[in-house]
Subunit: 413 residues, 2 copies
Amino acid sequence: MADWQVVTGGITAPKGFKAAGIAAGLKPSGVKDLTLIISETEAIAAGVFTTSQVRAACVDYCRQRLQEKASAKAIMCNAGQANAATGEQGWQDAILSAELLAQELNISPNAILLASTGVIGQRIKMDALQAAIPQLVASASVEGGKDAAKSIMTTDLVPKEIALETTIEDRPVRIGGIAKGSGMIHPNMATMLSFITCDAAVATHLWQDMLKRAVDKSFNQITVDGDTSTNDTVIALANGESRTTAITEMNKNAQKLEAMLTEVCQYLAKAIARDGEGATCLIEVQVTGASDRKAASVVAKTIAGSSLVKSAVFGRDPNWGRIAAAAGRAGVNFHQDELQIKLGDLVLMENGQPLEFDRQVASNYLKQAAAGAYLKDDTVLISVCIGNGSGTSTAWGCDLTYKYVEINAEYTT
Amino acid sequence: MADWQVVTGGITAPKGFKAAGIAAGLKPSGVKDLTLIISETEAIAAGVFTTSQVRAACVDYCRQRLQEKASAKAIMCNAGQANAATGEQGWQDAILSAELLAQELNISPNAILLASTGVIGQRIKMDALQAAIPQLVASASVEGGKDAAKSIMTTDLVPKEIALETTIEDRPVRIGGIAKGSGMIHPNMATMLSFITCDAAVATHLWQDMLKRAVDKSFNQITVDGDTSTNDTVIALANGESRTTAITEMNKNAQKLEAMLTEVCQYLAKAIARDGEGATCLIEVQVTGASDRKAASVVAKTIAGSSLVKSAVFGRDPNWGRIAAAAGRAGVNFHQDELQIKLGDLVLMENGQPLEFDRQVASNYLKQAAAGAYLKDDTVLISVCIGNGSGTSTAWGCDLTYKYVEINAEYTT
């Protein structure tokens, strides 16, 4: 059983964090587009970033900052301009952004981390940013979590936030998180972003390792369209304000904290997949029986990312052949006569051969699962067993719809 | 300059080959669904097959046959049932199919190769097949190339065939080819198939090596939806009927033959991509400057397979940011400040930074290229240079349209 409960407040639920989201005029539409997250005290900071060879200036900036010093007091994120493929000038803009915020907060620029999301090739509107920073800092509050969740959005349909609470040494410890992303949206509204706050006291190297593992089981397991962005960023701050004893080794408390961190990441990752461009439902693919977790993960992501599987789910078509074919081409060795495929609880294929099943019943499962009848959310569950190994992994995706093509084929000048 | 000319006749253009395509009642629609290609004399046979872990019985059958003996007299291909995921019974059906045809042709079953395309999980309708074999054999003729090209089709919109002729020792030498494929089509009309005939005299090991290299530069460089099928097969026969001296080493004549074989494969591969489900145009991605061909190939295929790039081309949107992002996530190392991106002759990005360009002019290029104004066929050319290396590669794909989703989300009972 889960050792935590959901609490309100999102990113500002953990002690000692404030946030703000304001309209700074970076986006032409005039919506909220500038976000700030502040920790009252310097927090341990961990980050996981895009592996793309084409990276935004803020990604290189954060990687460098965190290498020098794995702590931070504030994260600022602008929407509207990705500041990717902007060369030396983009790099100077990133440095200046941090300096301007540092000045206003009266702290060192080294304590600031940055993120951007928006159009690739466009620099941040520095004049608008500079003018907005005083108001941004002034409006930061412990009630600001919701504003922060909104102001990082681009074409997301819904804000994505969560906060969980557990108990360590009889004291409440919380993790809050926000995220954005629903594809790499036209015109290049790049990016999956997530910011996580925590008031536990934890050693730097443990926190970075925990984040890496949690991201591997969550954000790295979602696929909307297979396109990794130039700006993908997950930053997690832990400021110790819960006043629990510092966790310095992988003991029971550490495991508890990591489990809760993983849950926060998975909740946000699933929220991103569900909000995938044009999607009508979330697809969860559970793979078991692989030689190891890595092999299971590759198969799960290949199935979740298959255009044919995604189209079939949109058509509410129990097309197990496409699932088998996607598993087969994933690049992972298995014996096809050991393959089992299930849709919800319905076994469609066993020992590599199709079973007699009622297509109407299976299609009804898809219709009802997509409508949220079974799991109380709109999740279609595909389970695939590829052998006797102990490797398991879960991946998440969404169906492929006319709307996806419409969103991404739209030509805007 | 190309050292060959196009001739008519397709798969039966080379000397000593006959073909047939008849309606055997395997498909409910009553269209042509059974194909035969015969060489008068035993031909050298080379094959390249799907690398999927889930494979059709015919694929395992051909691999085994070719390992025993790299020659054949006939290829039979059924459409309608893929005979994949059909277990031991499917294997027995494949063996029986070869025996029935061998009996009718009065040759050894070991001289027969098989292919299937159709619904995964369905066995071949053996009664219909058996009843049709006499008519199939009787109707084989040197004029049968066109029928063969038609009878291997599933949801392909157009038949795909070509024949080229060159001169070796002052004698005409020909290669003919047919292919099918336009995605893995609902309900699992699996497969890319290609059959190639040649009347050159060539040593077995050279022919297999030539085919492997030609496939790597053609069929392995196309992507419609990223879904590899359970039945993918390329078989090439060479029967020596041109009566030229046998090619036994990689001399000038061998190079000439391989260049022509590669051209046949590339023509058919491009025809498949252009006929991609729902596609309105062919996308050609040329990558240069990579460390080696393999690295260039990965980048080219990643760009050609990106849903976002494909959607942008459908929208006639010169969205270079998506091309840069796809290149960046391909898993190949390069310096982003060396990236150059061109659409046709228009340079959109240089030294990793966007250039000022007229979006309307670039969009017009896409519109006109897709309509066939530049290259006399409907090809959109994307050129990407990622550095100073000598590695180059070309990949082909097609745009992503509403129609693709419609075709693949269609629910048929």
